[in-house]
Symmetry: C2
Subunit: 235 residues, 2 copies
DNA sequence: TGCATTTTATTTGTCGACACAAAAACCGGA
DNA sequence: TCCGGTTTTTGTGTCGACAAATAAAATGCA
């Protein structure tokens, strides 16, 4: 894409929308690793790229820092947060608990229209699996679970879970890059089971399925990390 | 205090420290209700009060908005977030779970030095209870549980828990204002039990005690809310 | 050449000013 | 008095510029 197009597209823009645009774009680029962990973020460069002053850029960066996607070195450039492989188990713990809690609450508090939304995302997910499109699958998986969490109607849990899901996307992204996009079919059928459990309002079943789903994902990532470390040693 | 003193104190100040000062002060004022929910926050007024430009003020406000302590009405002044009494149960759910999880993890992962810190905060808490100082008690209670969470060493849980504890301080503050600072002695002994369970690394006991502690607090706040609503109806 | 020190360059943190949007005040007619 | 539209006021969103701090380059000395 012409680097100037973004500039021109922004030249006539509603007051207050600039921050959101920059925030969302940086966020996406961090999550899909087009901005790799540790890479520095230059404010003036971004300002030129978007055709705006540094002020809204800085505000977007402050927001991203608040979510932990970006780290601010005082008087020095802010950098994309690193993935902490050493303390990955804390991530797994939090992820597993949030999977369980949000699914349980969805079983308790969901309304009919929630199921529609959830099923829509599951359809997108199944399509991505069928097409062997790892990236679309990762994104749809995130949206599926985000929709489940929304149906649970607890903003505190949803907030943390969304953060974890996004952080998980960065890790999964890494995972599927190095494993040549081998896609585990189990995910799709597991999702169907979760939907059925939510629809039946069977809270205990929701909990068990969510836990199994989380364990499945955690095991796969752990296998990846272990393999990756072995390769490091081999070098 | 002389309104000019803050200005003067800041007039020679290290680059980059301004945001932190404003952030922490606003945060404290929001939590202890000296800035009541719904009250507007004027940027120029704050800028004059602190003797700095609006830029660092705005950055502090963006951070506070990220933590949900403040709400940003586009093109209109940002206001202190309201306490949502209707969905208070979602807060209780999250609070209870975080009490349990962080205490469990503290039982699992704490180191000897963690216990020292925890006991120090508990001493402060006991002193506040003895002195019938509700405000000091609320603050020490928060620090006690924050220290327990730190000992659990899961930043995701700790992050959410700290947010909940601060939000809880706002609610508790309201509670003790209207109940003439009647202090439940149970809290102090409950804390001692939790410390013992952590030190013994008895995870199940940690869970049970944390749950009981959370239930205790939730019941008290619920009683307060119920009573408050009855008064509203009476009017 | 190798190291310590000074100088330059780069990038952030802060400022004051202006443009814009929404709310509040105003006003004239019924 | 009340109501619709107009003007003023208030306070945010954005900008360009400058100052401070750090890193990189250059310089001097042994």
């Amino acid at each position: 894409m012409d680097p100037k197009s973004e500039h021109d597209a922004q030249s006539a823009r509603k007051r207050g929308s600039g921050v959101r645009i920059v925030y969302e774009l940086l966020r996406d680029e961090i999550i899909d690793l087009s901005l790799p962990p540790g890479s520095p973020i230059d404010e003036v460069q971004l300002a030129e790229r978007f055709g705006m002053s540094r002020t809204p850029i800085r505000e977007a960066l402050v927001r991203l820092a608040g979510e932990g996607l970006v780290e601010n070195l005082p008087n020095r450039s802010t950098i994309v947060s690193n993935i902490d492989f050493v303390n990955l188990h804390t991530f797994f713990d939090a992820m597993t608990l949030m999977y369980r809690v949000t699914t349980r609450l969805a079983g308790q508090y969901h309304r009919p229209e929630d199921l529609e939304t959830i099923r829509k995302h599951q359809a997108r997910f199944a399509a991505a699996v069928a097409a062997a499109d790892a990236l679309a699958m990762i994104a749809a998986n995130r949206d599926f679970h985000a929709a489940v969490a929304e149906a649970g109607r607890n903003p505190y849990f949803t907030g943390l879970f969304l953060r974890l899901l996004d952080e998980g996307r960065r890790i999964l992204r890494l995972y599927y890059q190095s494993f040549d996009d081998r896609l585990p079919q189990e995910y799709a059928t597991e999702h169907d089971g979760i939907i059925a459990a939510i629809a039946a309002r069977d809270v205990d079943l929701c909990d068990r399925l969510a836990r199994a789903h989380a364990d499945q994902i955690v095991r796969q990532i752990q296998a990846f990390v272990a393999r990756d470390q072995r390769q490091d040693i081999a070098l």
